[in-house]
Amino acid sequence: MWKPNSVRQRVFLALLGLLLMAGGACVAWLSWNSTQNGLAQKRLIDSFPAQMPEVGIYIAGALALISIMLIVVMVSALPRKPGKRTFIYQSDKGTGISTVDSGTVALAAREAAESTPEVAHADIRINGTVKSPILYARFALRVDARPMDGMGLVRDVLIPQMEQALGARFARKHVNIDFQPKISGTSAKTTLT
């Protein structure tokens, strides 16, 4: 259950592309028009405004900055899972206080889902706050079960039961229904030899 930082990745990629394109085009233009500019026989290294070792310090500084920026770009644009933060719901029914961790509810819901014949695999995460929990879930249903049975189970049974356990309705639900291919077992067909 990964969330790709799609927009951020595209923005960074566009900026990198623009920088490379602009830099390459600029050098290509200068090189192409070097005769008109009087640069034809001028060495590239002589175009720098400083000489070694000063220019080395400037270049090292710029490269260090570029390296740090690239690391920041990579780390911030990596796909990530929904936050692992769980919360404890507390209910006071007069006879005593009971508490439940949202992570436990998610785990119990996963196990309950996977124990049904319709659901092959479930991945459930609950985060948010006590008053407004958020659900991220992916249910892989078996293709050999009727699709609507599995989907109805998820929508009408599993999710309401999770809400009941949490004592609050989900403020947001992000549910993905998948269908898992049937794993072929030993063939029951008779083979004529």
Binding site: S6, L16, M21, G23, G24, A40, L70, H174
Partner: protein, 183 residues
């Protein structure tokens, strides 16, 4: 409501490979520059390259080719960033932005379901469904020479099972049957 599942494909591999390549280049040159600044001389393994680089003039054709290459790579990255990717999920009827509910069906899962239904049809040896947007194409192989009836059966079966799913947009099914392995 920001969506979690129904999003366009990201550019993780492109961005990471570009960043890692640039990071490798910048770090290598950073180390070289730091050695030069600290010791006063270039590392011995780079002197050959630097000697040839020192004499590069602006009208050098290799420099022009390199610059054009970099510009083209930049253009490709820009195109990769701007071209909208495909979504890998289909919205369900239950999806509601106002109620903050995102309900989607995985496209690969729908294709798996179509494959299962197609392969259950009498006379079908194997099926390979391809889901593109709202169109599902199912290629089936059959040992039977007359494929019209089988195509119709597969089309009806797959369409029926997909119609049972409350998809926000219906998917049209087309089938192409090919004879394989028959006598």
């Amino acid at each position: 409501m920001s969506r979690f599942w129904h999003v366009r494909s990201a550019r993780t591999a492109t961005l990471l490979s570009t960043c890692l390549l640039l990071l490798g280049i910048s770090t290598t040159f950073l180390v070289i520059c730091l050695i030069r600044v600290a010791s006063g001389s270039w590392p011995s393994w780079i002197t050959g390259f630097l000697d040839s680089a020192k004499n590069i003039v602006w009208e050098n054709s290799s420099l022009l080719a390199l610059a054009i290459g970099v510009a083209v790579i930049g253009l490709l990255l820009l195109i990769a960033a701007l071209v909208p990717g495909k979504r890998r999920t289909a919205l369900l009827e239950w999806d509601s932005v106002h109620e903050h509910e995102e309900w989607v069906a995985d496209n690969r899962g729908l294709a798996n379901l179509a494959r299962y239904e197609a392969e259950r049809t009498d006379g079908v040896g194997g099926a390979s469904p391809i889901l593109r947007g709202k169109k599902l194409h199912v290629g089936v192989s059959t040992p039977v020479h007359e494929t019209r009836d089988i195509s119709q059966s597969v089309q009806a079966n797959v369409q029926e099972v997909l119609s049972a799913i409350p998809l926000a947009h219906s998917i049209s099914v087309s089938v192409k049957a090919t004879t394989r392995g028959g006598q």
